[in-house]
Symmetry: C2
Subunit: 214 residues, 2 copies
DNA sequence: CCAGGGGGACGTACACCGTACGTATGCCTC
DNA sequence: GAGGCATACGTACGGTGTACGTCCCCCTGG
């Protein structure tokens, strides 16, 4: 009973599953084939090579972002929701997220969020150039934040002790030493929202200035 | 003539050189040994394993950041300079930078910049918790920006055409399509500085509010 | 009903990888 | 000079991605 006919989607799903369970290093064609109860070379009937498979992983994760957009809401609320949607998917696929952010996509899967964000920003009143700028600003912040959140610990456990602060010399690093407890623990959600609000407010005043001037 | 006695530093240097020339995928113990005209296993007298070697690469790159700090300058100027120093080293070692940001450091090499930044922020008037918060905010933005700058193209060539925008359906992605030229080209330095100024101004008003209130 | 063909599953094989282990060779100390 | 130790090195093993050839099933045309 072949259960289900092997397909690119099934292979990608198996890869994501494996990555989340054992990390990206555990991914090998043999291992995936084994998980699917299939010969190694059978995979190559649906996937040209491993790199393409990993691209598929990124694409799949990216396309699973759930945007619940309310076109009637204020634009600040809408960009907030979009940024949170990104963070949510990263929370759901923490290990795979590292792949997404460290590979450049050649697919159009990443364009849906971009299109949506640009639409929101232009409706808010930004011209094309500013919309692109603001988008890049947000992407940089979101990606950077997610990288810290999911990259700080390979297991994504609730971070037991402290990643960067193990045994520091108080003479060499007085500040780090004094603030060790703050540096070691982190309410990721709270930190993320803090920066997000700061960014939104900043570009809101940016928009206001441009609007009243031009 | 053994030219120079093999050492961890020399091995790490060879690794960085190789990464910058041919990318991180080209790195293998055999290849590095070959580049150094040395047996493969000789490397293991100075480096416990490959992962540690890559840690060494990250550490080396990080420690080469040139901070030209002026303790007398205004704190906004100082954080600006520190952020730019980060970006400068990423520019100098683009491919290695990807390694730095995608690995979590277990070494203290990454603590020097942290210590410096915290000192600056606390001298500016932030309390411990806020200093840590602002530091995380800046790190997220800087890392996210660098990831886009160096990750957009594996060769770090001046980006020939456009990474994300090749052939988009104008029906599906009207905004992306309309802004294709803007999305495709990017004055990285200008964009980086724009976001940086925005961030600095934001936390400046944050500081002001706290100061006048408490 | 059968012949032919195309596509998917699979085994084998090769080049390469990280590295454990054993060995040889130089220098440094007693 | 003898002993010991750090370093350079060769060999070998299990794992990797994947090119290539083979087999079998199913689908189609006659």
């Amino acid at each position: 009973m072949p259960s289900e006919p092997l397909s690119r989607a099934r292979i990608v799903a198996a890869a994501i599953d494996l990555i989340e369970r054992e990390g990206a290093d555990a991914v090998s064609m043999r291992r995936i084939a084994s998980d699917l109860n299939v010969g190694v070379m059978s995979l190559y009937n649906h996937v040209p090579n491993k790199a393409s498979l990993l691209d598929g992983v990124a694409e799949s994760v990216l396309s699973q972002i759930e945007f619940t957009d309310d076109p009637g809401a204020h634009w600040t609320d809408r960009v907030r929701m979009q940024a949170r949607a990104f963070r949510q998917i990263a929370h759901h696929y923490p290990r795979s997220t590292m792949l997404v952010v460290s590979r450049q996509l050649h697919s159009n899967a990443g364009l849906f969020p971009v299109e949506r964000a640009l639409t929101t920003l232009r409706q808010a009143g930004f011209d094309g150039a500013d919309a692109v700028r603001m988008l890049r600003l947000f992407i940089a912040y979101v990606i950077g934040s997610l990288l810290r959140e999911v990259g700080v610990t390979p297991t994504f456990a609730p971070v037991p002790g402290a990643a960067p602060v193990g045994d520091v010399d108080p003479e060499l690093f007085p500040q780090v030493s004094e603030l060790a407890s703050l540096l070691g623990s982190c309410d990721h959600e709270e930190e993320f929202d803090f920066g997000l609000e700061l960014l939104i407010q900043s570009i809101a005043v940016h928009l206001e200035r441009k609007g009243t001037r031009g």
